[in-house]
Subunit: 306 residues, 2 copies
DNA sequence: TTGTATGCGTTATCAG
DNA sequence: CTGATAACGCATACAA
């Protein structure tokens, strides 16, 4: 019975019986109970992806690509969203393994390996991305120095000296590091910090109105969109610099420069690293750091070099 | 033992034993196996949300809101993504219930109630949204006539006669209906159909270059962004009309009008309808239809009325 | 090759 | 109030 339906008879089942069983199964509309199977086999063929904000299109793109890739490998994706809330994240970190997952991919809010180990079962295959955690080897992120370096170089080339910063929460590594690295290269005349969402960008721009910075630097695309959305008059607009892509930037009537990460590659590496652990293969000895590339729009390109 | 840990002793457990059990549980790092619990209780406290495209920010926003709402009600969200692929959708429709979910919220590709019933267990609490399926009562969508009506009215008011259409796949109700309703109000001089993604919008605009329509109407925001992204020169730009919000539309140097749906309300209603079924309450007798509202940018507002 | 019995970790039930 | 035991649906080891 089980032998034929689960396919795993080891070839040790006669054609006659197989047909009879299959026929009856179909007639009765039999559906294997995968949760019973999981209990028995200790495997769920499900992988969880825990994101800080699924409303952010950047994470949406990651989710889409990871799902496709896992699906090709026979795994179902279980997507969870913490909304950048440490409590919800902790809850999911503890809950997801209990619900039965074979592995976890996460862009964590948590800062330490210890915190992760406390919540997660010791042996759970784990991949961290976007936000490296010290001590976690299975990790994919973008080289922060290179990422910010090309952005700062591009800004310097057109004579930017004074910048205003719009930053996501400092307790999130990516935002904090970007903020710090920019501060080393430019004179930061103003700074606005808040949730990494459009609304924060809007508020920041209003605060910066009278300051006339050479450029406004945002630690992610969502903040950048908020800033741009708040701009009303466009005479002598500031330069907008941000991380990751801004939609329709070519047509926007202000100079924009973005340091964009390689989303498809990052997604692919995440899945690769997780599958390696799931199949018992050895992962890489060190975290993977990808390269970013700089993109500018026409308005930016027509700026006169300093 | 179980009595204390599962909390469900019915108050029939002494303080002394409770403490002793809790102490030992903590010492051993005990974690309840929720998949065993699900098997026994026949309940998972998990709800699946099956989306056609999680990379589309509109669905991302829905996902985020639905997750928050379900979380407040003690359910975990399991998000799945079909990528607008009928086969993947069918697979998930069959798979998710087997994996153990208490209910399902879906924006389906499928067109018929029969097709759904074939894949889904009969008794599974189900909510359909965005894309109504005939015969499914638990359904939340936006009134198509009203939605398109306000868009067409706004366009007519500025003298639009000839439009070019950029449409998502015709087998998806929302795209087909929007396309048809627009065609009844305007002279459609060109039409480009393809996957509801930015790339399709870009290709469409290139095809429309020489036609000089009064407006380009897109059946969703993603297509609209693609069209705008493809526009290079902005002398005498066409009007862009689309469904749902386009980011930073106020600053874009061309007239834009959007008929936007109420995403928060739609998410809330989805959860409401599902919870009603989960708790055995009677749902509404008829599908719910929400109202859309029209938004224009400054460039559109400065157009002279016809 | 096929039938049968046991256990996966819980919870519910039934004695004690 | 508490301890033991069966059953959830499946896969596997073992017996036939």
């Amino acid at each position: 019975m089980s032998r034929v339906l689960s396919g795993a008879g080891g070839g040790k089942v006669s054609e006659a019986v197989r047909r009879r069983v299959e026929e009856v199964a179909r007639r009765l509309g039999y559906r294997p109970n995968l949760i019973a199977r999981s209990l028995r086999k200790g495997k769920t063929n499900t992988v969880a992806l825990l994101l800080p904000d699924i409303a952010n299109p950047w994470f949406g793109a990651i989710a889409s690509l990871v799902e496709q890739s896992l699906h090709r490998h026979g795994y179902t994706l279980m997507l969870a969203n913490s909304g950048e809330d440490p409590d919800r994240e902790a809850e999911y970190l503890a809950l997801l393994p209990q619900k039965g997952i074979d592995g976890l991919i996460v862009a964590p809010l948590l800062r330490s390996r210890k915190a992760l180990d406390q919540l997660l079962p010791e042996e759970l295959p784990l991949v961290v991305f976007d936000r490296p955690v010290p001590g976690v080897k299975a990790c994919v992120s973008t080289d922060p120095a290179q990422q910010t370096g090309i952005l700062a170089d591009t800004l310097e080339r057109v004579g930017v000296k004074k910048v205003a910063m719009v930053s996501g929460p400092a307790h999130i590594v990516t935002h904090r590091v970007r903020d710090e690295l920019i501060a080393r290269r430019f004179n930061v005349i103003a700074r606005h910090e808040g949730p990494a969402q459009q609304e924060t960008g809007r508020q920041a721009f209003i605060r910066f109105l009278s300051l006339r910075p050479d450029a406004i630097v945002c630690t992610n695309n969502f903040l950048g969109e908020g800033v741009i959305d708040a701009i009303e008059k466009i005479e002598d607009p500031p330069i907008i610099a941000c991380y990751d892509q801004i939609a329709m930037m070519h047509l926007l009537p202000l100079p924009i420069v973005c340091s964009v990460q390689d989303v498809p590659l990052m997604s692919e590496k995440c899945v690769e690293l997780l599958l390696a652990q799931l199949e018992g293969r050895p992962g890489p000895a060190e975290p993977i750091e990808l390269q970013a590339r700089c993109v500018t729009n026409q308005r930016f390109q027509s700026l006169s070099p300093a």
